[in-house]
């Protein structure tokens, strides 16, 4: 069984360098863990503006029957948004911040 290992900072660096695949098998395992659906746990998504130039991080309730709640985090680059959410999920799994900006 794959278990989260907070010492595998190499996986975080790999994701930051290339948020979209192909990924190494270990990073893919980690992403599967981070993206595991849950019927009761809210999840992050992005709301894009009219000009397709800015993405606001939002939180969605499972079920797809209510609009997401917007946060104050706005991105102008999708890769930056992916990295930000990755760090949030790392912190949730590790119980501490990812020591990489």
């Amino acid at each position: 069984m794959y278990l989260f290992d907070k010492t595998r900072l190499d996986l975080a660096r790999e994701f930051k360098a290339n948020p979209y695949g192909p990924h190494s098998p270990d990073l893919q395992y980690l992403l599967h863990l981070m993206r595991r659906p849950s019927p009761d746990r809210p999840f992050h998504c992005l709301v894009v503006d009219e000009d397709d130039e800015r993405w606001t991080l939002a939180v969605m309730e499972p079920g797809g029957r209510r609009p997401p709640t917007l946060t104050n985090h706005v991105f102008t680059d999708l890769a930056e948004a992916e990295w930000y959410v990755f760090k949030l999920r790392w912190r949730e799994l590790a119980g501490e911040d990812l020591p990489i900006d």
Binding site: P19, R35, R36, V48, G63, P67
Partner: protein
């Protein structure tokens, strides 16, 4: 905040046809409407600038805004009848398979009118158990309930009634499951009341109750409805007396003994007319009803024992209708404006653009040439069946599962939010109903959020990249639609030398495939410009254009799977599921078929040795590179999203040439389910070489030919670098050769 949405009554319009537009708007006093021609998608700074072309039309202008609700939820309506209105004593019985017992009050059968608290209704109460309510006004309501909740997805016989002579009000439940180990036991309860059912004549509704009259949109009879039921009903019966349990069983049979027959008011048999919207009454008064908002028919009933899986062979096993509180076949809005297609208007992709209070809404439609006329040798075949299947795809927003299989964060825009704020816009065939059952029907007669030139690139707006390319080449093309292909068959295609598909023509009826095959056999040329095409079998509603059915039977990449015994379409009786499982795999028509999907990054093709074959020398004129399409607006490559491969076992013609093959796809690209019979783990593209897009060419009898890209993302590379790229060159070479009437050699060698 302004909310604006709308739809039109037809997607395919020919000169002289009138398109009706229905609009709903709140938060603004007026909205603007203008007709435009769409020549490209809205796709950002790397794409052709989005520039809808204004069309001079009498309907362009400002309109007074009004809000039109959407009457969602299915039911059966039996019109008002003296036999029903005159009832004093009565018994109602029905077999029921609830799917959400306990989720609020749900009406099963009755004349109850909630705004006046009159009539009667057998319901599932808030506890999930059956109850009979009668009323003669808000101060005169009586209700009896068993107090025993039904369990979801179990069959029960419910009966309830009223004895006017004694004032006895009763309700019973009896579990009908055979062969299980349920603990359910029969239950019964009665009370005595002085209340008598009152109110004026009212229709008999099944699976909903009347909320009162409405001046606005109504799905049936000018009424609003409430207490919608989720689940199945089977054999509802109504008798003009208070019956004992034995008589209740007897009245549910096919024939009635003397003494009971004359008491029958109605005995509705859902197994009759399954392909229709009629509900047949076998009783003496023929109180036939109608289904409203298309509840699902051709589903197993209480008598189904698994010995029959095809409802056409023995409909008696299929005596149930599955109702959902989120069924919707038509929003039934009033018309706001119309557009009559002028004779001189060129064929193309058009839309009504609505705007109000800083928001906009698009209502696309297709202007097609007159029937039987080709104004160009080239036709773009708009994938209207696939568009319909995906309309209001809510499942995309439902969970992290979307990010898991797409490999990137879920993104939505303001128009997508409309669907979340207004669930009454209904569902797609990629969704499940609120009770968890799969959505088998989809209709375009409602406002939709994902049929527009803006937003996430998928289906319609992705196909506009192909339109963009055709416009770049001078705009010599007609637009025809799959809806027309189903209705008109080969006659629709016959005027054309070349037919170009959309990026994802995934859904086809038998009639559509027949027409395409016949077209190719008489020398037609097909440019299959996408991926995962010709995959699912669908059925079209026999009388409602723009309404399709999908039964997601065995195999396939699917958001839900058909429940046991539900693999045959209700509209036609045809077996559903993959065309591959119906003996017509996509490889037979297009040379390639669905092999994998992934949504995080797209890749490129590498030219193969077969590209040097003299048969395709024309295809690569002006192209020297080995790598093709390592660029594109859709995630950076021409090969990706959903991709297809050749497979001789599934029908790829032996003389087909794979002229280019994609490689280096990411981990999110996994083998389709139908290719993984025994799970083995080596199913993603980083370790499985079967996963690739095969650009394929082959000749057909009669001088025709097929060229397939096998990739949805392909279209997003056409306009790269201002159309100065090898993908555009290659595709244009194909179109040029396909337009050339010189027959392809047959046999090819």
């Amino acid at each position: 905040m302004t909310v604006l949405m709308g739809y039109c009554d037809r997607w395919s319009a020919r000169p002289g046809d009138t398109v009706r537009f229905m609009v709903s708007c709140k938060g603004a006093a007026r909205y603007d409407a203008r007709i435009v021609r769409l020549k490209q998608p809205s796709a950002g700074p790397r794409a052709t600038p989005f520039a809808p072309e204004p069309v001079a039309a009498p309907c362009n202008g400002s309109y007074s805004a009004r809000w039109q609700p959407i009457p969602i939820g299915s039911f059966v309506a039996v019109p008002t009848h003296p036999r029903i209105s005159a009832l004093a004593s009565f018994t109602v019985s029905v077999r029921v398979w609830p799917t959400t017992p306990g989720r609020g009050r749900q009406a099963l059968l009755g004349t109850w009118r909630e705004d006046e608290a009159t009539g009667w209704a057998l319901v599932l109460d808030e506890s999930g158990g059956p109850a009979l309510r009668i009323g003669a006004g808000p101060e005169a309501v009586a209700e009896v309930a068993t107090g025993v909740p039904l369990r979801a997805r179990r069959w029960y016989r419910l009966s309830a009634g009223f004895d006017a002579a004694t004032g006895r009000l009763f309700v019973r439940q009896e579990p009908l499951e055979a062969g299980g180990f349920d603990l359910d036991r029969p239950a019964e309860r009665s009370i005595t009341t002085s209340v008598r059912p009152g109110g004026g004549p009212a229709p008999l509704l099944m699976a909903a109750a009347q909320a009162g009259p409405t001046d606005g949109p109504a799905a049936w009879g000018g009424i609003r409805t409430t207490w919608h039921f989720n689940g199945r009903l089977d054999r509802p019966c109504l008798a003009a007396a208070a019956l004992d349990p034995a008589a209740v069983v007897a009245i549910g049979a096919d024939t009635w003994p003397a003494g009971l027959a004359e008491l029958v008011v109605g005995a509705w048999d859902y197994s009759i007319g399954i392909a229709t919207e009629t509900v047949h009454d076998r009783g003496p008064h023929r109180l036939h009803g109608t289904t409203v908002n298309l509840p699902t028919r051709a589903v197993p009933g209480a008598d189904w024992d698994g010995s029959v899986v095809d409802w056409t062979r023995d409909p008696s096993h299929y005596g149930a209708i599955h109702f959902h509180d989120d069924d919707l076949v038509d929003a039934c809005w009033d018309t706001d404006f119309t557009f009559t297609v002028p004779a001189e208007l060129r064929s193309g992709v058009y839309a009504a653009h609505l705007s109000a209070g800083g928001v906009e809404f698009w209502i696309p439609f297709f202007v097609c040439p007159p029937r039987g006329v080709g104004r160009s040798p080239v036709a773009f075949l708009a994938s209207t069946a696939t568009y319909t299947a995906y309309l209001n795809n809510r499942g995309r927003f439902a969970s992290l599962a979307t990010e898991l299989y797409q490999g990137r964060l879920l993104t939505l825009d303001r128009t997508d939010m409309l669907l979340l704020e207004h669930p009454e816009m209904g569902l797609s065939t990629y969704d499940r109903h609120s009770d968890g059952s799969g959505v088998a029907y989809s209709s375009r007669h409602r406002p939709v959020i994902n049929f527009r030139p803006t937003g996430r690139h998928w289906n319609f707006n992705l196909d506009l990249f192909i339109v963009d390319w055709l416009e770049h080449l001078g705009g010599d093309y007609d637009v025809i639609t799959e809806e027309q292909l189903h209705e008109e068959g080969l006659d629709l295609l016959a005027p054309y030398r070349v037919v170009i598909t959309g990026s994802h023509p995934e859904y086809d009826s038998r009639e559509m495939l027949d027409a395409l095959e016949a077209y190719l056999r008489r020398g037609g040329r097909l440019m299959y410009m996408g991926g995962n095409g010709f995959y699912w079998r669908i059925a079209h509603h026999p009388t409602r254009p723009g309404v399709i059915e999908v039964r997601r039977a065995e195999g396939g990449v699917r958001a839900w799977d058909a429940e046991p015994g539900e693999s045959y379409h209700s509209f036609t009786g045809e077996y559903g599921g993959l065309w591959r499982r119906n003996g017509r795999a996509p490889q037979r028509l297009a040379g390639v078929g669905f092999i994998s999907q992934g949504f995080d990054a797209c890749s490129y093709y590498r030219r193969t040795a077969a590209a040097a074959d003299a048969r395709v020398a024309w295809m690569f004129e002006g192209i020297t590179a080995e790598i093709l399409g390592d660029f594109g607006i859709l995630q950076g490559g021409a090969a990706g999203l959903e991709i297809d491969a050749v497979d001789p076992k599934l029908g790829t013609p032996p003389h087909a040439l794979v002229v280019a093959r994609s490689e280096n796809h990411s981990n999110t690209y996994e083998l389709v389910a139908e290719e993984v019979l025994i799970p083995h783990g080596s199913t993603d593209a980083t370790i499985n070489r079967d996963i690739r897009a095969d650009m394929t060419f082959f000749e057909t009898p009669g001088g025709g030919a097929v060229w397939s890209t096998g990739s949805i993302a392909y279209a997003g590379s056409l306009s790269w670098n201002g159309f100065d790229n090898d993908i555009c060159r290659l595709t244009t070479n194909v179109l040029r050769r396909f337009r050339d009437p010189t027959p392809f050699l047959w046999p090819p060698h």
